[in-house]
């Protein structure tokens, strides 16, 4: 029965699929030249392949012992050997010229209009608009029921996020990629941009998008358990729409700051905290708080989460160096931090009744580690 449903699910998926064979041409001038290079080298290979395999199969059919073929005795020829050394060299030089030109263009990151710092985290992306003061995380939104085959898969299964990266078309956008933990790689095929995000390094890449639309990519470097679950979604808007979006974001940030000043009830914090926990912590500590033995500790019933509140604040705000537990004090605002800690202290039967307020978080952050 289970098998049958699996097969049915499989059949259902076939309907969605596209049988795409080739690299996308993409929506930037660079991606078009990369596509062109790809096609040139592909056809060179096809032509060489036809010649080489042609001769080979011709021999296979005509020079068979069973057809009475007698072996010739030639076994070297300096001229022929020189020819098939020199001709490939010439072809390769011909190929290297356009490849070099494209590469030089890809490396020219000067004179950008928008600068975006892209930071890889296990397992989400953070986008910081350096000149606009916008800063947010972008996390997978595909529900776990879909991943575990308990619900139908949506159209953009595994390629959908809560907060897409929003960019203007026609502007030169510079990406500064880096990482907070392990190496990730930021890749959007339609832009032909793939750049590793490496802790301690800042790499540069750039793009200029020609057409508005939604473009999807994925993390390309193995980065641990949920490497397959940290997609990239870019929404490219016309410049005026982009400006509106920027203003909206800046206003939203202001009202969030105000929220940190008011008093929060336990119920409010729990509600907000569950949300934060499920997007930021559940990947390791699991939604039921049980963790993964040997890798990520359980929070349900743990000493820190049920007793030592100061230690709880410390580990969440400042992380623990040398482990996968990151410092979240720089990733979230005070409300999110207060609510997720409150949530951990009261969920799964931890029931301490403790409330951690945004003000306490701010004080602890100001005091420093």
């Amino acid at each position: 029965m289970a098998l049958l449903t699996l097969l049915l699910l499989g059949a259902n998926n076939v309907a969605h699929s596209a049988w795409q064979l080739n690299m996308p041409e993409g929506v930037t001038q660079i991606s078009a030249s990369v596509y062109e290079l790809h096609m040139i080298i592909f056809w060179i290979c096809v032509v060489i392949g036809c010649v080489v395999f042609g001769v080979m199969f011709w021999s296979i059919f005509h020079h068979r012992k069973s057809k009475g073929a007698k072996p010739a005795s030639f076994h070297e020829s300096t001229t022929v050997e020189l020819i098939w050394t020199i001709v490939p060299v010439l072809i390769l030089i011909g190929m290297a010229v356009p490849a070099t030109a494209t590469l030089r263009q890809m490396y020219d990151t000067t004179a950008s209009d928008v600068d975006i710092q892209v930071t890889g985290y296990q397992w989400k992306w953070r986008y910081r608009y350096l000149n606009e003061n916008i800063d947010f995380f972008s996390t997978l939104t595909t529900p776990t029921e879909q991943i575990h085959n308990q619900a139908d898969k949506s159209e953009h299964y595994l390629l959908e996020v809560d907060n897409p990266l929003v960019l203007p078309v026609g502007k030169k956008i510079r990406f500064l990629t880096t990482s907070n933990d392990v190496i990730h790689s930021w890749w959007v095929p339609d832009f032909a941009v793939k750049k590793d995000a490496i802790p301690g390094f800042i790499n540069e890449a750039w793009t200029r998008i020609d057409t508005p639309g939604t473009y999807r990519g994925q993390c390309a470097e193995l980065c641990g358990k949920d490497h397959g679950f940290m997609p990239i979604v870019v929404v490219a808007l016309a410049d005026t729409d982009y400006q509106t979006w920027v203003t909206e974001q800046q206003q939203a940030a202001l009202s969030k700051q105000a929220a940190a000043e008011r008093t929060w009830t336990l119920a409010e914090l729990m509600q907000q905290g569950e949300q934060v926990y499920n997007t930021a912590c559940a990947a390791c500590h699991q939604a039921n708080g049980m963790g993964i033995p040997g890798a990520f500790p359980a929070l349900k019933g743990s000493l820190i989460a049920t007793q030592d509140q100061a230690a709880h604040l410390d580990i969440v705000l400042f992380g623990k160096s040398g482990t996968a537990m990151a410092a979240y004090g720089t990733q979230f605002d005070a409300v999110d931090l207060a609510s997720v800690i409150t949530y951990e202290r009261n969920a799964w039967g931890n029931d301490t009744g403790d409330i951690v307020t945004p003000q306490e978080i701010k004080q602890r952050l100001q005091a420093g580690q």
Partner: protein
């Protein structure tokens, strides 16, 4: 020379004239044929083990969604599959073939350092037992890919990483000892009259491979020792937080890793250069250029490593240098393919099983070479890198490349090893099933990669579903066909179909001058080569 062979024959009277009985024969053996056999069976066992892991991977990827395994375990499977196939299946198989065939081909009574030979084999079962045992440890086995990039493999690794480091150290020691043995044997123990430029190509390619091994295995040992220091002794070689450099890890790893891929293919070139002339009944075209091409590939393999790292943010000049040097490798590799085809051209061809696998090798390895050439183009590599296109590429050069050559070599030399002919009809079945399986598995991966599917993911977006399903079906077909190979080999060992000393009409070389099966001791007095 005459001194040592007189000594050898005096010994053989009482000490090791005939193989000892029972298990101790295999434990204490210093006989190159016994050790070759041990290596070959060991590598086959590892091939099946790594193959089972590949089938776990292909089952999970049969359709979108998580069905069989969780992502943690999936990552352990991809990691161990790669490590086991590279260090446990392909490399030991070539060392096994070298042990069996190099003394026979150069007319030597044994390998130069027989006791070390025993040790270099017997380290391996312990190394792999330790590696596999990590799967049962808390936190699971290594899950950071066979390329184990830091800091995923250091700061963020499961506790079992220490055992992984220890076992890779043992594999490295074993390889270095095997390589020293090959060098010592080929340089010192060739029959009188066999000059370097008369050496069979399998011996040539292995000699060059052995130098590569001796050059790069210590680099691997160095890099895993640095990991060990980072994990346990507070250093920060690869930890940016402590002033270290994660990219340094990749430079060191690929300085080992790129020559490593040629370590896995040069001996294959050697085997194919024996089989193609035999079944074309015509001398190998361009022997000298084959030797020079092998040497140039070996040299170039040291200066192309960063083509695995085009996206780490190399400076433009570095990017260009590694792009050009990588493109250059196509030239000597092309020379080899052209030479094999010229050997077949106007020959008198027949298609016994070894030849079928050799032809399969030439065609499919060349396809893998083409995708390699595409990957060399740095701007295009930004799109291919870390996708299934790369997975397709290296499986084309390793499975119908390295592994087909090993299978071809086994079919070619089995009559010499066992004294019996192989069942040709079953051999042909094995070939056709394998070639269909291999292409069904790996050809669709080119499309998946170009369409944007990253490698090493346990689940994927819906547009990748169809080709993944095909690849999984092909994977099972290929995997189960290898059980047929096992059956064929066992059948050959037990057969009564006596093989002549030279079972293949067109074969040439010293190995065909000794009886079939090759007696326990051969060439106690060196043959004369003119």
């Amino acid at each position: 020379m005459s001194h040592s062979s007189a000594q050898a024959s005096a010994h053989s009277e009482h000490e090791h004239g005939q193989p000892a009985k029972g298990l101790t024969r295999w434990l204490y053996t210093t006989n190159h044929k016994d050790i070759g056999t041990l290596y070959l069976w060991f590598s086959f066992a590892m091939f099946l083990t790594g193959g089972c892991m590949a089938l776990v991977i292909r089952s999970e990827l049969f359709q979108p969604g998580l069905q069989l395994v969780q992502p943690e375990f999936f990552n352990q499977m991809t990691t161990l599959h790669g490590l086991i196939m590279v260090f446990g299946a392909v490399m030991p198989a070539f060392v096994g073939l070298a042990n069996w065939m190099i003394p026979l081909m150069v007319g030597a009574p044994d390998m130069a350092l027989p006791r070390m030979n025993n040790l270099s084999f017997w380290i391996l079962p312990f190394a792999f037992a330790m590696l596999l045992s990590t799967l049962l440890m808390e936190g699971g086995g290594p899950n950071f890919g066979w390329t184990f990039y830091a800091p995923l493999s250091t700061t963020y690794a499961p506790p079992s990483v220490t055992f992984f480091i220890f076992s890779v150290h043992m594999m490295g020691i074993s390889s270095i000892m095997g390589a020293i043995n090959v060098v010592a044997t080929t340089l010192n123990m060739r029959a009188p009259g066999m000059t370097m430029m008369k050496m069979p190509l399998f011996v040539w390619t292995w000699l060059i491979t052995a130098f590569l091994l001796i050059a790069v295995m210590p680099v691997l040992a160095g890099v895993i020792t640095m990991m060990l220091m980072d994990i346990h002794f507070g250093t920060s070689f690869f930890n940016a937080g402590g002033g270290g450099d994660p990219v340094l890890f990749q430079h060191l790893f690929w300085f080992f890793g790129h020559p490593e891929v040629y370590i896995m293919i040069l001996p294959a070139f050697g085997i194919i250069s024996h089989i193609v002339p035999t079944f074309s009944r015509k001398r190998l075209f361009g022997y000298a250029s084959m030797v020079y091409a092998t040497a140039s590939i070996a040299f170039l393999s040291f200066i192309v490593w960063a083509h695995h790292m085009f996206t780490v943010g190399l400076p433009l000049a570095g990017e260009l240098f590694f792009m050009y040097s990588t493109m250059l490798i196509a030239v000597p590799t092309g020379v080899k393919v052209f030479n094999w085809i010229s050997t077949m051209f106007r020959g008198s061809l027949s298609f016994e099983t070894p030849m079928l696998f050799a032809i399969g090798f030439i065609v499919l390895f060349t396809i893998g070479g083409f995708s390699g050439l595409m990957l060399a183009i740095a701007p295009a590599d930004f799109q291919y890198h870390d996708t299934y296109f790369v997975v397709a590429h290296f499986h084309y050069v390793l499975v119908p490349g390295a592994i087909f050559s090993i299978i071809a070599g086994a079919y070619y030399w089995l009559p010499k090893w066992t004294g019996h002919m192989v069942d040709e009809r079953l051999g042909r079945w094995h070939f056709w099933l394998s070639i269909i399986g291999v292409n069904l598995t790996f050809f669709p991966m080119h499309f998946l990669g170009l369409a944007g599917m990253p490698r090493r993911i346990p689940d994927y977006a819906l547009q990748f579903a169809d080709f993944n399903m095909i690849a999984s079906i092909g994977g099972f077909l290929f995997g189960f066909s290898q059980l047929l190979f096992l059956y064929i080999v066992i059948k050959c060992i037990r057969s009564t179909d006596q093989a002549p000393d030279k079972p293949w009409e067109g074969a040439e070389g010293l190995e065909w001058q000794v009886p079939s099966p090759a007696p326990y001791h051969t060439f106690s007095t060196p043959p004369k080569v003119d």
